[in-house]
Amino acid sequence: MSAIQDTPTLAAAAPRASIARRSVWLALGLAAALAPLWLLESFHLFQLTMAVIMSLAVLGLNIVTGYNGQISLGHGAFFAIGAYVTAILMAQADWSFYATLPFAAAVCGMVGYAVGLPALRLGGLYLALVTFSLAVAVPQLLKHRALEGWTGGVQGLFLMKPEPPAWLTARVAITPDQFMYLVALVVAALCYLLAWNLIRGRIGRALMATRDHPTAAEAMGMDIAALKTRAFAVSAMITGVAGALSAAAVEFVAPDSFTFLLSISLFVGMVVGGVASILGSVFGGLFVLFVPNIAESISRAAPGVIYGIILIVFLFVLPDGVAGLVRRVLARLGGRAS
């Protein structure tokens, strides 16, 4: 997955030799994703599960902000809505976790579409503020009395993470943590595959054209309004699925879990990982989860300062994100080889 997506234009004219190389990359990526199942103990596996979930959330943000150029500072709200849809259905209606996933995606898609409508009139900074207000409002709405019967108010909701099924536990020894990682990985991989297909195809090029030159895109016959609102819907859907996964992994949701800081850290993850890059979203998720921990281990007194310094260093050293670095290194290696 990793190497493929960065060369969308090559895909059309791909010589056969590169297909072999690509499957090698795919196998390596698969191995890297599955190895932690055996290598890591449960706590680190839990962290990695959260990192996979965060990278999925960053991917959602990347579609609307990275590829379509609409700045959103409110993706924490979609994350929260996805988490709450799953939590409410599981805790109040006894649904199975898997059944809630499409539902969470659909609800977030609809909300995303609705948020995309004002985006047609508001651009740039103004849109950023509108989405930001969404991120500020959602945690408070979740506490509201009218919804309290469903959302559990400030106390939040408890749920159980999906248990490994009997046919699996009968064959291999698998812990609930390992299984949760596997579930997150499979769901995330599917979403990444969908996003990759979307981006490298006609729609992806239209999204980027709208971002780079809306007037020209419209002159070429693209329906900008439809593109923008749908980009928002797809983006919200993916981030919402990430939220649903996080509700299951944490087994608890509360309004305080989804403050506006979450939206900001997703945005930071996207920029650091690489704007308009699918591989970058993976690194973005790792950054969102692990850098605050690294900052804390360096200085307990002022983790915020260390976090800021790490962020600035990243932006100076890697102006086009981690994905940009990978791309450059690969290009150099490729150049030397040929």
Binding site: M50, Q155, F252, L262
Partner: protein, 406 residues
């Protein structure tokens, strides 16, 4: 062959030693987070983010464990206290708690901050049977030994506070008609439950209630409505903004009930002055801590002990911050439990000692307020003393009153 012999040898050695030392040695070896020289205790707090003003509690506790180690530790071991930052975000709390339990392998968890944050780990720690002791939150749900035997709060909950007010009412005016104004959320409903606990079947006949939303602009209409019922007692479980409104409104419409205000909302600067200091005369609230600004404690041995501690271990700490008197009390409770453990710091024994604290006084708590626990009652502090507003300050009166228990 050799294996069998070795096993036999070990077995017989064990059999001989068993009556003397085996249980102790075994416990010390099996207990996670405990070595021959050290006990490792974990905690989470909001070291960053909007709630980070509470992080001074962790500083205070670190200072107390440092003092304990300087004095030779406990059970021949030093205490290592690890606090991780959760930024007051529940998912981070779970992550950090799992780090403490699974990676750092701490002996147990102590004084984690916040209600939503502790909610996120409540089930996890009870499934894993990790003691989750003396939490820094005022919610009522932590005293539930039947369903969550490993979790224990410390400070009196809002529910206990309401029980205490109701008991005082019954003592003073057995035939009172009580008006209860509470905020329609978990905080406010704890007051409703507390009044119900004490009155039981009489609740319906004796009490009229009105609620407000945290988002309401005013609570004037609720006050007028309650007055019209002819109530002669008013108990308020509302946040500071509404507390000031209620005090002023009750005075202005000429209602003179025996009025109680939650101790969350009695700050002189934030509530009493905006309400009008003369309008609040006679208002009753409660506390369990000694107020460090009260001249009555200027030469109090307990508070002097606390001041000396602050001077030595946290010289730059703000002596006006009552999180330090809170921290001192909760830290002293923890150290008492460790002392009770003797030489066995296994999770089972720590929990067992934590639920069997014989009533004791602490330096920073009001005289007569006891710290205690029983296997069926996890309300560690269940007593408070009432205090009345005299127009310029709060005056304590009467004896400490005990809540109805869980």
């Amino acid at each position: 062959m050799t294996t069998t012999r070795r096993l036999l040898l070990a077995g017989s050695a064990g059999a001989i030693a068993a009556p003397l030392a085996a249980p102790r040695i075994a416990a010390a070896q099996e207990a996670p987070g405990v070595t021959a020289t050290e006990i490792h205790i974990g905690s989470t707090n909001a070291l960053s983010g909007p709630a980070s003003s509470y992080s001074v509690i962790s500083r205070c506790l670190e200072g107390m464990f440092r003092r304990l180690n300087d004095e030779g530790g406990v059970g021949g071991r030093r205490v290592r206290f690890t606090v991780y930052d959760d930024g007051y975000q529940p998912p981070r709390t779970l992550e950090q708690t799992r780090r403490l339990v699974e990676r750092d392998r701490v002996a147990f968890l102590f004084n984690q901050l916040g209600t939503p944050t502790n909610n996120a780990v409540h089930r996890y720690v009870n499934q894993r049977r990790v003691p989750h002791l003396f939490l820094a939150t005022g919610a009522d749900k932590w005293a539930n030994p039947r369903e969550f035997p490993y979790t224990m709060g410390w400070q009196p909950s809002y529910r206990v506070e309401a029980q205490i007010y109701t008991k005082h009412v019954l003592e003073q005016r057995p035939n009172a008609k009580i008006a209860l104004l509470y905020q329609n959320d978990d905080f406010g409903r704890d007051y409703l439950h507390g009044v119900q606990d004490v009155l039981g079947d009489r609740f319906r006949a004796m009490v009229v209630t009105a609620t407000n939303e945290a988002t309401d602009p005013t609570i004037d209409s609720q006050i007028v409505q309650l007055q019209a019922t002819g109530a002669d007692v008013l108990i308020c479980g509302v946040i500071p903004r509404f507390a000031a409104q209620a005090i002023r409104r009750v005075h202005d419409i000429g209602w003179r009930p025996m009025m109680f205000m939650t101790n969350v909302s009695v700050s002189v600067g934030v509530v009493m002055q905006p309400a009008g200091v003369e309008k609040g005369v006679g208002l009753i609230t409660s506390d369990y801590r000694k107020d460090q600004s009260d001249p009555a404690w200027a030469n109090d041995p307990g508070m002097n002990e606390w001041r000396q501690f602050m001077q030595r271990y946290i010289p730059d700490g703000d002596l006006g911050d009552n999180n330090y008197t809170y921290g001192y009390g909760v830290g002293a409770t923890m150290i008492q439990v460790l002392r009770q453990c003797g030489n066995d710091f296994s999770r089972e024994n720590v929990m067992n000692q934590a639920r069997n604290i014989r009533p004791m006084q602490l330096a920073t708590l009001l005289p007569g307020v006891m710290v205690q626990s029983q296997p069926d009652n996890y309300n560690v502090i269940r007593q408070m003393q009432l205090q009345r507003w005299n127009g310029s300050s709060w005056e304590r009166f009467g004896n400490v009153i005990e809540g109805a228990g869980s």
